[in-house]
């Protein structure tokens, strides 16, 4: 009973005071409760895919948004995870529960490798060089079709679960765990170092921090998360094909990331949850079927013209303000900070500020 009351108090003082946190809570609960309310196989299928891409986009954000290593070849990790688990489970007969972890591990190794190769590169050089890696792997896969299945890929994988609802729950739980894990990591001291590396790497190194180690670790973590998503994706679709390595997927994740707002984790996830179902939904209309990518691109372009920092930071700035004194965030319609009582708006009169203190 004590713990219950304690949890409720935490919820009231920490979550419900901010609309963004309330929204995240509602979103997570809504995802978990959806199959009880609306059990449509098509909707569940789309949301399952959305969850995989959400993990993928969040892992890109940790690397590109936080650390500033804008990776144009993030599909490499996705594809590495997908192909590893496919090869292991088909050629060696390893059950998918194990081979998924192997896929994540191999993708982690790829992340480490790419990070190692790109340690000396910066900015645009890094972006353009990383674009090359998935294409090199793709060229190799096409050159040895006996091993990799060539253009058709490797099909006939086993699903993790049989019913759509079970698959959906696997995807949602995996997504929530990985995304919250990445978010916690990015919010920790480790994440602060990453922010600093993006802003000024020389200064960070001058402060005695081994930036190379941090960059390698981030590459490995992002690779592992993306590979995990790729492995789950391959087992869900029951095929690991060359489309998991294509430039289009790499660009797609860049669009999701920047559209949602970089260096937030929740931004890219929100972007995936908005854009992916939207494009699928547009595809169901006969008139829009061929135009859905066009509409997608136009929407991204228009949204960007009005919110160049991305969707999530823009919305957040509209509904919340940061306290000028203690930097904690407050609901936009409060006049004084909920923690330190400082006036949030410049035009608040002295009398009002005094009232706020009581």
């Amino acid at each position: 009973m004590y713990w219950l009351r304690r949890a409720w108090a935490e919820l009231k003082t920490e979550v419900f005071v901010l609309p963004s946190r309330t929204l995240v809570l509602l979103w997570a609960l809504g995802l978990l409760a959806l199959p009880f309310v609306y059990d449509d196989a098509y909707v569940l299928r789309i949301l399952t895919m959305t969850c995989f891409f959400a993990i993928f986009a969040a892992s890109w954000d940790l690397l590109a948004g936080y650390t500033g290593q804008v990776n144009f070849g993030h599909a490499l990790f996705f594809g590495a995870g997908a192909y590893t688990t496919a090869l292991l489970s088909l050629k060696l007969g390893i059950p998918p529960w194990l081979s998924i972890w192997a896929g994540a591990a191999i993708a982690m190794f790829f992340g480490f490798l790419v990070g190692y190769l790109c340690l000396r590169l910066r900015g645009s050089y890094l972006s353009l060089a990383t674009l090359a890696f998935p294409l090199i792997v793709l060229g190799l896969l096409f050159a040895f079709p006996g091993f990799s299945g060539g253009e058709l890929g490797i099909s006939g994988l086993r699903r993790l679960a049989l019913t759509p609802t079970a698959n959906y729950y696997i995807a949602v739980v995996a997504m929530l765990v990985v995304v919250f894990g990445l978010w916690l990591l990015a919010d920790s001291k480790f994440g602060i170092v990453l922010h600093a590396i993006r802003d000024d790497e020389v200064a960070v190194r001058a402060s005695g921090i081994n930036t190379l180690r941090y960059k390698l670790i981030v590459f490995a973590i992002a690779g592992a998360a993306a590979g995990f998503a790729g492995a789950l994706f391959a087992h869900y679709l029951r095929v690991a094909g060359p489309s998991t390595l294509e430039t289009a997927l790499s660009f797609q994740v860049v669009i999701w990331g920047i559209f949602g707002g970089v260096a937030t984790i929740y931004g890219p996830v929100a972007a995936v949850f908005l854009l992916y179902p939207m494009t699928e939904w547009l595809g169901t209309f006969r008139a829009f079927g061929e135009l859905r990518l066009l509409i997608f691109a136009v929407i991204v372009l228009l949204v960007l013209l009005f919110m160049p920092r991305g969707l999530a930071p823009w919305v957040r700035d509209k509904v919340e303000v940061a306290c000028p004194r203690c930097k904690h965030r407050n609901v936009g319609w409060r006049s004084v900070c909920r923690l330190c009582g400082a006036a949030l708006k410049a035009e608040v009169s002295r009398a009002k500020r005094l009232v706020g203190h009581q």
Partner: protein
């Protein structure tokens, strides 16, 4: 076979040079990573196809109109879409990706996804070094050389070229010296897209025209630009020739070379970057923080 490699490498290298130099220019002057660069190349090819086959124009006016039209379109896109988000680098990046996707989808919707063939500008072939070279490929080579000469003249012998080079060197000092940096950026966009459009027009009779023709040259072009050093014109030219020859050698000597040519070219780029992170002719970017 050596002669084959020589000629193919030279022709492909010329086309790549046209693309890479334009990309390099706009990166140097405005720091825009223009993913839509090769999409303009695709647009020019489609425009040329429409004017030539559908409208029935003759070659020269069709080529001129397509290059001019695409250049105009690029300036319009720059003013309406890129300029408003210039301060946000990441926004510029996905704006160009979105533009490229829009062009691709528009062409897919208008012309369908199948390959379109453009009739050769010049029929026949001649023998060079014992290999028969179609006149069309020679035309590509001549046009590429002429355009490169033109760009060199523009950059190193005119006032505009001086302004472009100084803006690329140091944008703040260029502003202080009274140059209109925005206008220079716009002129650079026009020049660079015009080069890509010329490449698209001359190449369309040799390659097939389809809505996805911008992806493969995009990757190769990026590899060349990184290999030669971002923003360096000389580096782009030499990088283009290197990659052109590497691809030709791979295709002619390795089994399954057509699949591997991209991979080998990119591998060369990665190796060069490992040895020299700023590319062959790039400025060391320690000072750029």
């Amino acid at each position: 076979m050596i002669q084959d490699i020589f000629v193919t490498g030279l022709v492909n290298g010329g086309v790549y040079a046209l693309l890479a130099i334009g990309f390099s220019l706009i990166f140097g002057v405005a720091r825009i990573v223009n993913i839509a660069h090769t999409a303009f190349y695709m647009l020019a090819a489609y425009c040329f196809y429409t004017l030539l086959v559908k409208v029935g124009m003759s070659f020269v006016p069709a080529a001129l109109i397509s290059v001019g039209g695409v250049t105009l379109l690029s300036v319009l896109c720059y003013r309406l879409i890129i300029e408003p988000v210039r301060e946000h680098e990441s926004a510029v990046l996905i704006a160009t990706i979105a533009l490229a996707l829009i062009f691709q989808e528009l062409m897919l919707y208008t012309f369908g996804g199948h390959f379109l063939g453009v009739p050769s500008t010049l029929e026949g072939s001649m023998r060079v070094l014992g290999v028969s070279v179609p006149y069309q490929r020679l035309l590509i080579l001549v046009v590429a050389a002429a355009m490169l000469g033109g760009v060199w003249f523009l950059l190193y012998r005119t006032r505009l070229g001086l302004a472009i080079r100084s803006t690329a060197n140091d944008i703040e000092v260029a502003t202080l010296m009274g140059m209109n940096v925005h206008r220079i950026a716009m002129a650079t966009v026009a020049i660079s897209v015009a080069l890509a459009a010329v490449a698209g027009v001359v190449v369309s009779p040799v390659y097939v025209v389809d809505p996805f023709m911008w992806l493969a040259p995009l990757v190769t072009m990026l590899a060349i630009v990184v290999l030669g050093g971002l923003g360096s014109i000389k580096g782009s030219l030499i990088g283009a020739l290197i990659i052109g020859y590497v691809e030709a050698i791979t295709v002619f000597t390795l089994p399954g070379g057509a699949y591997l040519k991209g991979a080998v070219a990119l591998l060369i780029m990665v190796v060069v970057l490992l040895v020299r992170p700023e590319g062959l002719f790039g400025v060391a970017f320690e000072e750029e923080r």
